[in-house]
């Protein structure tokens, strides 16, 4: 158990871990369902990585396969950390052919992420999407809901730098 806590500490602060343990304890004493427990945990930590799932499994005595099953079933649970900002690159037909593909490649190369992943510094979560409904602006990207149109692959980095 000690080792596991050490592992957790690499990712989370001691405060967060303590708070997590409090949440688990609350649900252990008064079982209110696994889903709310997981939801509260995700609200606290932002995501539900395997070692957190294991911690919950051990402490609350819930089978790991059950937790993992639920986490992978409901789309609002995520096992990858979210970055501060979300970058969506459109790979719909119009965007793809007018430079979307290159934008995606640039980001993937520059930030070393694949679709659905978060950069190591936790600044960006990068996703690719199908048609944003802004084909007129192709190629388009969206950062935290703000749409950027006619983006040149060479300019992507510049746009994102602003958010750092």
């Amino acid at each position: 158990m000690k080792q596991q806590v050490d592992n957790l500490q690499e990712e989370f602060t001691l405060e967060q871990i303590n708070e997590l343990n409090e949440i688990i304890e609350k649900y252990r004493v008064e079982p209110g369902g696994i889903i709310p427990l997981l939801k509260e945990t995700q609200d606290l930590l932002g995501y539900l990585p395997i070692n957190i799932q294991k911690q919950i499994s051990d402490k609350a005595n819930i089978p790991l396969s059950r937790i993992y099953g639920i986490v992978t079933f409901y789309s609002f649970f995520t096992m990858t950390p979210r970055g501060k900002h979300t970058v969506k690159v459109c790979l719909g037909t119009a965007c793809y052919f007018s430079g979307g593909k290159e934008i995606a490649e640039t980001i993937e190369g520059e930030f070393r992420v694949k679709s659905g992943e978060t950069t190591a510094d936790r600044i960006f979560t990068y996703e690719t999407v199908r048609c944003l409904g802004a084909c007129g602006l192709a190629p388009a990207i969206v950062v935290d809901g703000e749409v950027y149109g006619r983006v040149k692959p060479s300019k992507v980095k510049e746009i994102l730098e602003k958010y750092k």
């Binding site: 158990m1 000690k2 080792q3 395997i50 799932q53 294991k54 005595n61 089978p63 790991l64 396969s65 059950r66 993992y68 099953g69 992978t72 079933f73 409901y74 789309s75």
Partner: protein, 897 residues
């Protein structure tokens, strides 16, 4: 429940209200196909919809496995509409299903294949190209091909609800849904216990038995129902035979003890039968080397040597070690051989090392040293006090009953164990006593019960004696005093006492953690005291229940492979008994109580015992203080060993005789709940090996004593005649469910629980016992307490389990469990090689750092010859039962450089 009228396929039927349509149809002889439902486990999720039927008046078809019948219901099970719907469902199921029945292991036994055949579906109209899921072959026992999975959910239900193993579940969503193990890892890496029950219930070829791949089609096997030869649970199953070989083991739902359950050893641990290194001919040691010999030669040599020793040094310089792995018939013959042919009562077996304290203690308290109640009764107990038994690993099928009691029937479980065993998870209360302080803990519990007036006064007055004395003794053991001795908080002692004493039925279950102490008999007496104090003996779902280790350790005791009794615990010192056996066997018999296992080896060490005959035992691994035991075997003038493999003990022999496995012989075994069950010959003996019962009688014959039987059934007839508790037992009567002794005569149906209105000895006897410390305690030089046990995947000295490919693959090496705090002090990291030293020996093994072991306690299993735990253990004996103290000795641990 009232009967109602329904109409199925235009036929009127009277049926109990609330029955499902599926069951109603079954009663009417109509077969409705099912995929997901398992009515025998109350599982009917209604998800596969292959079982749909038409109910007149209902707009949609209904799933018959969940739909209850009502008065006047009109049902069609095979109408055109129904068949069309079923066909459609099937085609959807087949849309993603690989069509490779020709090489699929499940073919011939697959529901999907059968349905596709009967509906004439060659190819699905909805064929899709779902992404292939890679085959998972990581488990040594189970192959998972999830591309064949129909998502019926049976495996999940079994693993989670029935077994409480919680290894698998559904994961992901929509078209990605699949069965996941833990966090979607390979089965081998998950918490799967490899029981294989999911393989049994899987209706298709998604889960199959790895070792059986390519060994034959279901229809080619001859099935022989027999009894497992590993542990005392006594599970039954079918050996599947093809071309004279055991191809695999499958569940037989007719098994009374276990139904379709089996543990990993029973289901997957029988590949040792056909190992190349089986002993196939007799071997005789010539000039220090073993040479092949004929049976005649071997018998001749043994006979002349034993006769010579007898003449020169007297009968009592010979001894026999019988075996808890051999059948009842063989144990009977061996003790007869010892007494009638060799003329000595020096016969014993390894029960001495595990449960002799039980036999001695419970005989003293109740008059009969066996589990008082039956396995199936455990599930209905309202409280269970479990102590000194890691049931999950050692008696897996009994652990299921305990879990059922807790999770399904709301029983309260109290675990008293120094280790954090798996069942602690299910416990209301866990008492972590310092090893070796059980008497104090029991006295503390009784102190509270008496103090709070929770004892069963009526039971005590009418059915017991010795109460006042007990009371006087336990009054000293207040919870506070006991806390100081045991380390268990006084408040927990009070709580546990109240739970146990106020439960309508409380079952006390224990195993070697209680017996393997110098105070073993005292411990057992304490269990009996506690049960009698609260009136928990002689009624259903209560009692004192020692779990016996090996498959036939109960039987070996019953049949008198003990130095002081004949079969049925009839004393050798009783002149009437002596006369009875003397007459039946046609020889004079000795009334001198013989030596026990440890004493025999000590005598051999001192040169007083000169000839020893050991059958299927491995004292060179199982004895405490191994260096001493091995030296004793070396010094034995003439040692004969019969076994199936070259064991550590056989290495010391002068003559080795090849015996057989249970697949090669007929006989009976008696499980821990006193149930005598059949073992059936399924294949011919390998090589020149012979059944042990033949070996013993042929050897007797050679030595001039007339011992001849055509088959083991005849031996059982003789046993029944001479042994009152087995009086009504015969092979015909054992056929279906076996019989639980006492079974007095042919009309007696056996005994589910003992001491109903009267104890075997008349009144139950309380014994006041004082706490005594273990013989060797940690000190400055050896600061840690060493304790031993077993793991799920191996059995006893590992002779056979370590020769099972899968079992050894999953658990290949010894480990020492150490508490994290001790590890830190000793600067030991997980998986470091460590050296463990006691006053008697030294071994090396990998460290496993875990909270399972309490601070100051190290634990190790004893299956591994390369790190034999018993090189360290203490041979100090319990004064009454002569059981050695395996559970407590002092050691020091350091990192191995």
């Amino acid at each position: 429940m009232s009967l109602i009228d329904i109409i199925i396929n235009d036929n009127k039927l009277k049926i109990e209200e609330g029955t499902t349509i599926l069951d109603a149809a079954k009663e009417a002889g109509i077969k409705i196909p099912t995929l997901c439902a398992m009515p025998e486990f109350g599982f009917a999720p209604g998800s596969c919809r292959i079982c749909v039927v038409e109910v007149v008046g209902m707009p949609a078809l209904v799933a018959s496995c969940t739909y209850p019948v009502r008065e006047g219901l009109k049902i069609y099970t095979h109408s055109e509409r129904v068949l069309r719907a079923r066909k459609m469902t099937l085609e959807f199921l087949l849309a993603n299903h690989p069509l490779d029945c020709m090489t699929c292991e499940k073919s011939g036994d697959c529901i999907l294949e059968e349905l596709a055949y009967s509906f004439g579906i060659k190819k699905s109209r909805f064929e899709q190209n779902r992404e292939q899921i890679p085959l998972d072959e990581t488990s040594p026992f189970i192959v998972r091909d999830l591309n064949k999975c129909v998502l019926c959910g049976r495996c999940i239900e079994i693993c989670n609800e029935i077994l409480q193993s919680h290894a698998i579940n559904f994961g992901y969503r929509s078209s990605q849904v699949k069965i996941i193990a833990d966090e979607d890892v390979d089965l081998r890496l998950s918490q799967c216990l490899s029981c294989g029950l999911c393989v049994v219930v899987c209706p298709v070829g998604a889960l199959t038995d790895k070792a059986a791949q390519g060994k034959g089609r279901t229809w080619e096997f001859k099935k022989v129902k027999t009894t497992c030869n590993y542990c005392g649970c006594g599970c039954n199953f079918d050996l599947n035979i093809k071309e004279g070989k055991v191809a695999k083991v499958t569940s037989n739902p007719e098994s009374i003890v276990n139904g379709i359950h089996l543990c990993v050893k029973g289901r997957f641990g029988y590949d040792y039968i056909h190992r190349e290194d089986r002993l196939k001919t007799p071997l005789i040691r010539k000039n220090g080397k073993f040479e092949k010999a004929s049976w005649e030669e071997a018998y001749q040599l043994i006979s002349s040597k034993f006769t010579k020793i007898k003449k020169e040094s007297g009968n009592d310089s010979l001894a026999v070690l019988s075996s808890a792995k051999c059948t009842n018939e063989e144990n009977y013959l061996l003790m007869k051989f010892s007494r009638a042919v060799l003329g000595t009562n020096n016969v014993d077996h390894c029960a001495r090392l595990c449960h002799s304290a039980t036999v001695a203690g419970l005989a003293q308290a109740f008059g009969s040293g066996a589990m008082t109640n039956s396995i199936k009764e455990i599930a209905d107990a309202s409280a269970i006090y479990l102590t000194g038994s890691n049931t999950t690993e050692n008696h897996p099928i009994i652990a299921l009953e305990i879990k059922k009691a807790v999770t399904k029937n709301g029983a309260k479980l109290i675990v008293a164990d120094p280790r954090e065993i798996e069942l602690v998870k299910y416990a209301t209360l866990w008492l972590r006593q310092r090893p070796g302080t059980d008497v104090a803990l029991f006295n503390g519990l009784m102190n509270v019960i008496i103090d709070e007036g929770l004892e069963d006064k009526e039971f005590i007055a009418q059915r017991t004696e010795g109460y006042e004395e007990l009371k006087k003794t336990v009054l000293k053991y207040t919870p506070e005093v006991v806390e100081k001795i045991t380390g268990v908080p006084a408040e927990d002692i009070r709580k546990a006492a109240r739970i146990y004493a106020t439960a309508p039925t409380a079952s006390l279950i224990y195993s070697m953690g209680i017996t393997q102490h110098t105070t073993g008999t005292d411990n057992v007496l304490s269990t009996a005291n506690l049960a009698m104090l609260t009136g928990n003996v002689g009624k259903e779902s209560a009692g004192v229940n020692p779990l016996r280790g090996q498959s036939n350790v109960q039987g070996a005791c019953d049949l008198g492979a003990l130095p002081n009794v004949y079969s049925g615990y009839q004393k050798v010192t009783d002149p009437q008994i002596q006369e009875k056996f003397s007459k039946a066997w046609g020889v004079d018999l000795s009334d001198k109580v013989g030596l026990t296992v440890v004493e025999i080896l000590n005598a051999a060490y001192e040169g007083k015992i000169k000839g020893v005959f050991i059958v299927a035992e491995n004292p060179a691994m199982s004895e405490p203080d191994l260096n001493h035991a091995r030296e004793a075997l070396k010094r034995t003038e003439f040692l004969v060993v019969s076994d199936i493999f070259m064991t550590e003990t056989a290495e010391f022999a002068d003559v080795i005789l090849p015996g057989v496995t249970i697949a090669e012989k007929d006989g009976t075994l008696t499980n821990t709940e006193r149930r005598v069950q059949r073992v059936k010959k399924a294949i011919e003996p390998i090589g020149e090996a012979k059944q042990e019962w033949r070996i013993i009688s042929e050897l007797a014959q050679k030595m001039g004593y007339n011992m001849s039987y055509n088959n083991p059934a005849e031996i059982m007839e003789e046993i029944a005649k001479l042994t009152p508790i087995y009086g009504g037992i015969s092979y015909e009567r054992l056929e279906k469910d076996g019989l639980q002794w006492p079974c007095i005569d042919v009309n007696h149906t056996g005994t589910k629980y003992l001491h109903k209105d009267k104890f075997s000895r008349g009144k139950g006897k309380f014994s006041a016992v004082e706490f005594k410390e273990a013989a060797e305690l940690p000190d400055k030089e050896y600061p840690l307490l060493f304790t031993t046990g077993r793991v799920l995947y191996h059995f006893h000295t590992g002779t056979i389990t370590r020769r099972s490919k899968g079992l050894d693959e999953i658990c290949p090496e010894a480990f020492v469990e150490i508490n994290p705090r001790d590890a830190k002090e000793l600067k030991i990291e997980n998986e470091d090689m460590v050296e463990v030293t006691s006053r008697r020996g030294k071994i090396k093994a990998k460290a496993q750092i875990t909270e399972k072991s309490g601070k100051g306690v190290v634990f190790m299993s004893f299956h591994f010859h390369e790190a034999a735990a018993n090189l360290l253990t203490n041979a100090a004996l319990d004064p009454v039962a002569k059981i050695p103290e395996y559970k407590v000795c002092a050691v020091k641990v350091k990192k191995y450089q």
